[in-house]
């Protein structure tokens, strides 16, 4: 002890420091405990309610109680009553109590095919009063598999009977179904034959169609060529026509002018022609008379009809 000086600065206020450290640790631990308690609704006000179940199957302590999907409490305790029914004590967060009415029911439901079942509280009617603390809820227990099978059995049995009758009816050789099936079978045979005929017909049609298509292709090719040629011609015509029309118009005007001129110039032509005819007739008469006059008449050969000389080696 003597080695250590009580006056060492490091040891000054040591007891206070340790006390402070422990205090903080205690406060930390207490804080954690409070936090966890809050998380686990330890400090929440709870109201105890009860319900009676025929058996405890599917019920466990700590099992969640839900309302419209929200967890509002849990099973606190399971116990058997005097008549060997299970008395279940549940604690509900008080703040949710306003929705639990006297006519509310509680039932055991499975949230999924796998996993634990939960207790589902249904909200009561608007008119009903809030259930008091310690009140009993009406429990609707979940049906067991056997119960479900029994129920199903009852439901399915008539159906199965009906099916049996139907099968019997179908299997009856004299029944409508069998006869229909026979007819259908026959019909399908006929259809098969018809289909073969149709196939043959379609093949022939294909061939004919192919030939027709080939011819049509050729024809279309020719038509295309012709249309192209026509288009070209039309284009040329379109380009040249206006100029040509202008020229023709001009030419027609010129022709009109010329014909007018000719008309004007030849207005006396018929009279002139008559005169010429008269003169030629006169000339003919004169030459005729001269031809007949001696000594000219002896020199002029009278025209005569000639016979073609027949050749012996044509």
């Amino acid at each position: 002890m003597a080695v250590m000086k009580e006056t060492d600065e490091r040891f000054q206020y040591l007891s206070k420091k340790i006390g402070l450290f422990v205090l903080i640790a205690i406060l930390g631990i207490a804080g954690i405990i409070v936090f966890i308690g809050i998380q686990r609704d330890v400090f929440t006000n709870k109201t105890k309610l009860y319900f009676i179940s025929e058996n405890g199957q599917g019920l466990n302590e700590g099992q969640a109680v839900k309302l419209s999907g929200f967890k509002i409490g849990k099973i606190e305790k399971l116990s058997l009553d005097d008549v060997a029914k299970v008395k279940v004590e549940i604690s509900i967060n008080t703040k949710y109590m306003k929705w639990i009415k006297t006519d509310s029911t509680i039932k055991l439901v499975k949230e999924g095919y796998i996993g634990d079942a939960v207790l589902e509280v249904t909200p009561g009617s608007v008119q009903a009063k809030q259930i008091p603390e310690g009140g009993y809820l009406n429990f609707q227990g979940a049906k067991s598999i056997n119960e479900i099978i029994e129920e199903l059995k009852d439901d399915i049995k008539p159906v199965l009977l009906d099916i049996k009758q139907i099968i019997h009816y179908i299997n009856d050789p004299k029944g409508d179904v069998k006869q229909i099936l026979g007819n259908v079978n026959k019909l399908s045979g006929d259809i098969q034959h018809t289909r073969e005929l149709i196939d043959t017909m379609l093949k022939n049609t294909d061939k004919n169609l192919e030939n027709t298509m080939k011819k049509t292709d050729t024809l279309l090719g020719s038509i295309k060529d012709t249309v192209d040629t026509t288009n070209n011609i039309l284009k040329n015509v379109e380009t040249k026509l206006p100029n040509m029309l202008d020229k023709v118009d001009k030419s027609l005007t010129d022709v009109q002018k010329i014909t007018d001129d000719i008309k004007h110039t030849t207005s006396g032509a018929p009279v002139l022609m008559d005169k010429v005819t008269d003169i030629t007739d006169d000339a003919k008469d004169i030459t005729g008379a001269v031809k007949k006059t001696w000594p000219i008449s002896s020199k002029i050969k009278i025209p005569e009809e000639k016979t073609i000389k027949v050749d012996s080696y044509e």
């Binding site: 007949k292 006059t293 009278i302 025209p303 009809e305 000639k306 073609i308 027949v310 012996s312 080696y313």
Partner: protein
């Protein structure tokens, strides 16, 4: 200066001279002469049609020639001019013959022979019979051809008949068809003799060609060729293209028959050239076929 008074003198005296002497003579003298009879106006039209037909015939436009001859015939029929009718009927028959319309040619020739509707001049009868004989020659009917040629020859006897030489030629052709070479030779020689006498050069050429054909049949190729060449000279001088082709082909055949196709070829080519010039595609084609069929010459 001296010319003017001379001209003045001529002009002064010409006018009274014409008026007083020449004009009166022109009007007085027609009565003094007996000039040839002038055809009537309608007959003149028929004559003009006949002349137009002749021109068309010479140009080988046979359809046009026929139309004009028909027109002329109708006018002459309406005037019942037998001479004009006979002439036009013979012409029509001959044009049909040249066209290869044998039946129609027969029909018109028969009009003359059958005196339909009346008797025609002998010269037209001889022409009609000659045409009948030619038609039968074309039909390779030697018998009928001989018959009509003989009838024509009979008519020629006793009249001054310029057609005799021609008819002998036809008779010779008919004899050839009858395979009577001896008679054919005699008729052809007689024809040549008469044609020479009357100086019918075209028919002389025909006589020579017929004689050449006869020599060819007798396989006297050299003699045949000589006659063909003589005929060619005449035909060429008369510008008878069809006959020139016949002569040239005849010469070519004589060479060919002698196994000298190389010498035949130039004559064939000349014949083709004339055919081309005439525009005769059929003739040209037939000559080319002959060349193709020709056997190639063997080297000696």
């Amino acid at each position: 200066m001296n010319r003017i008074p001379f001209l003045h003198l001529i002009l002064t005296y010409t006018r009274p001279l014409v008026l007083t002497i020449i004009f009166p003579l022109l009007f007085i003298c027609p009565g003094c002469s007996t000039g040839p009879h002038q055809p009537s106006e309608r007959q003149q039209i028929a004559i003009e049609s006949n002349q137009r037909a002749e021109n068309a015939y010479k140009k080988r436009n046979y359809i046009k020639a026929l139309n004009h001859y028909m027109e002329a015939l109708n006018i002459s029929r309406s005037l019942e001019n037998a001479d004009s009718m006979g002439s036009n009927i013979v012409n029509i028959a001959y044009v049909y013959y040249r066209m290869g319309e044998r039946e129609k040619s027969h029909t018109y020739a028969d009009l003359i022979i059958n005196k339909n509707p009346f008797e025609y001049s002998v010269r037209y009868l001889i022409d009609a019979m000659s045409i009948k004989a030619l038609l039968y020659c074309d039909e390779s009917n030697g018998k009928e051809a001989s018959f009509w040629a003989d009838k024509a020859l009979n008519l020629c006897q006793g009249v001054s008949c310029r057609e005799e030489g021609r008819i002998y030629n036809i008779r010779a052709r008919a004899s050839l068809l009858n395979k009577d070479i001896k008679a054919a030779t005699e008729y052809a020689k007689k024809g040549l003799e008469i044609n020479k006498k009357i100086d019918d050069v075209a028919e002389m050429g025909n006589s020579m060609r017929i004689m050449a054909d006869i020599e060819l049949m007798n396989k006297n190729y050299e003699a045949s060729r000589g006659l063909y060449k003589d005929a060619l000279l005449i035909d060429k001088s008369l510008e008878l293209s069809d006959k020139m082709i016949n002569d040239l082909l005849g010469i070519a055949v004589t060479f060919e028959k002698q196994g000298r196709p190389n010498e035949a070829l130039p004559y064939y080519r000349r014949a083709i050239s004339i055919s081309e010039g005439m525009g005769s595609m059929e003739m040209e084609k037939s000559i080319r076929e002959k060349i193709e069929k020709m056997q190639p010459q063997k080297n000696p």
